[in-house]
């Protein structure tokens, strides 16, 4: 009997071991905000993080010691569950400094902000953002930077020595592109690309910050935080006015460049950096993105020109095109106040933003939404079906698309892309219905639902500390599901229910 029970727990032991390792990896990163706080003599923030790092390290060590990586073969279900479970545990552990800071109304609000950071959404429930400490701001923006790359990717790059099951954990985090044959090397390449852009982007924003009048140290940290947010398409900003704070066209243009590049597939970056520069034009995702970004921007400009909200073409570009591109790349930077979307943009403008947010950025990037790859595949699938119906039955045509290399457009591929899109639409519909149930107007509910489902972060005013608790919980779930793209979360739910069912059966047989 004991032997049977111990076999049942083998799955749990493997999962505990790797989840514990990932938690230890993220816990160690809390040293960075501690150092930042000490540099700026922010004692209270330093103490908050010292408490939090201890809690996280103890939790991580307990899980590693309770676990055992060699008791069973590492299977796909373990990889998916390690990824999805580590995100939930890390959400709770990383919310501790938020709660200790006193800037959130409740621990649930703290969890909301952490999940918003990890999933690179950018919706905020933290209060008094303009007066947050440097250490706390460093942590907020690090969460988007880490979350964009992926916790598992980070752990694989720096901390996990063996590669057994590494690819299965990597896929569980919503990535599947193999830049190099070895998944650890793939994870390293992702980090190398991100760190090089971090250096270049922070420098560019630092210089521009000095030009627009920020002080040197302030300009550096604003540049660092804004770049981390732009690259990860997160949308967090050090000031509550978001991009409106800077009142600078050049700053906005720099952020557009960085968040568009940040929304590209890491495989695309690697291919271009290896010398295959045509990939940026041939790739189905970039083609899909540039077409949909142009169409949505133009439609929004046409719609708002009729309303006469903005006085001239430059204002139109800065206020309309900027926010449409921010929505489409699922970044969430805004240079208008949240309520202006509802009061000044009109129904058509809000509708275009919703479509842009749902379409999203590239697969295997930091962006959310349906993803350009899926939109492109489904669109090509529809065209192929129409052409096949008009063709003679004896003719067989193979349809191709280019994604790093030429691939055949198979029915299974179109079906799985369509399935994920349907999951996103269901999630979006439930979020919209929930907003309407609590009395928010339909357009506002749909806007916020698209923002949450697509991990965008633009707000029309619905997200606030006074939002109903059920909506906060659902939004956390939606951000989490959207970022991990459903499969690993469904695996976790299946594992929990399956385990509970087996336990109930065992006790009822007795």
């Amino acid at each position: 009997m004991m032997k049977k029970l111990s076999k049942e727990f083998d799955d749990l032991k493997i999962i505990n071991y790797y989840v514990g390792y990932i938690i230890l990896c993220i816990a160690v990163l809390m040293i960075i905000p501690i150092i930042t706080s000490l540099l700026f003599k922010e004692k209270n923030t330093a103490v908050d993080f010292i408490i939090s790092i201890n809690i996280a390290l103890i939790t991580g060590f307990l899980l590693v010691f309770a676990g055992n990586k060699s008791c069973k073969k590492f299977e796909w279900k373990h990889g998916l569950i390690v990824s999805s479970l580590s995100w939930i545990i890390l959400m709770v552990l990383c919310a501790v400094p938020y709660y200790l800071s006193g800037n959130v109304k409740s621990f649930l609000d703290a969890c909301f902000d952490v999940m918003s950071g990890f999933t690179t959404t950018g919706l905020v429930l933290t209060q008094d953002i303009d007066h947050l400490s440097y250490g706390f701001n460093m942590w907020r923006h690090m969460l988007t930077f880490i979350g964009g790359q992926g916790m598992v990717v980070l752990a694989l790059t720096f901390f996990v020595k063996d590669t057994v099951g590494a690819y299965k954990m990597y896929v569980g985090e919503g990535k599947d592109i193999e830049i190099l044959p070895n998944v650890k090397n793939t994870a390293r390449v992702i980090w190398i690309i991100s760190m090089i852009y971090l250096a270049v982007g922070t420098f560019a924003l630092w210089i521009d910050g000095l030009i627009i009048g920020l002080k040197p140290i302030s300009s550096f940290f604003h540049g660092l935080f804004i770049f981390m947010s732009a690259w990860s398409t997160g949308g967090f900003a050090p000031m509550s006015q978001n991009m409106l704070y800077y009142h600078s066209f050049s700053y906005e243009v720099l952020t557009i460049i960085f968040f568009i590049i940040g929304s590209f597939n890491f495989g695309l970056h690697y291919a271009i950096w290896q010398g295959n520069r045509n990939e940026i034009v041939k790739n189905i995702e970039t083609q899909s993105f540039f077409i949909t970004a142009t169409i949505t921007s133009l439609l929004a400009v046409m719609g708002l020109s009729k309303l006469g909200v903005y006085p001239n073409a430059v204002a139109m570009f800065r206020k309309v095109v900027y926010n449409v591109l921010s929505a489409h790349t699922t970044t969430g930077f805004a240079n208008v106040y949240a309520r202006q979307f509802a009061l000044e943009w009109g129904d058509f403008g809000v509708f275009i933003l919703i479509i842009a947010m749902l379409i999203g950025g590239s697969a295997c990037s930091t962006a959310g939404g349906f993803k350009g790859l899926r939109v492109g595949i489904v669109f090509k699938g529809i065209i192929a079906d129409i052409k096949n119906s008009l063709r003679s039955e004896r003719q067989v045509k193979v349809y191709m698309f280019h994604y790093m290399k030429d691939l055949v457009l198979e029915d299974g591929l179109v079906r799985s892309a369509a399935c994920i899109i349907i999951c996103y639409i269901v999630m979006f519909t439930i979020a919209t219905a929930l907003g309407c149930y609590y009395g928010y107007p339909l357009a506002s509910s749909a806007f916020e639902a698209a923002s949450v489902s697509g991990n965008v972060g633009l707000s029309i005013g619905v997200t606030s500390p006074s939002m109903p608790t059920l909506m906060k919980i659902y939004y956390i779930i939606a951000m989490y599901l959207g970022r991990l793209e459903f499969v690993s979360v469904f695996a976790l739910i299946g594992f929990i229910f399956g385990g509970a069912k087996r336990l109930c059966r065992r006790y009822s047989v007795r």
């Binding site: 590049i261 590209f264 970056h269 690697y270 950096w273 940026i280 073409a313 095109v321």
Partner: protein, 34 residues
């Protein structure tokens, strides 16, 4: 793996391409918003 020349050219390609795209959007916006 990556080398310095490839990284530099890659950065220039990506930043340049996106800048050109933004420039084109700006020009189209100037025409549409009249």
């Amino acid at each position: 793996m990556l080398n310095r020349k490839g990284i530099f050219k890659g950065l220039l390609t990506e930043v340049g391409f996106v800048t050109i795209f933004i420039g084109c959007l700006y020009i189209i916006n100037l025409v549409m918003a009249r």
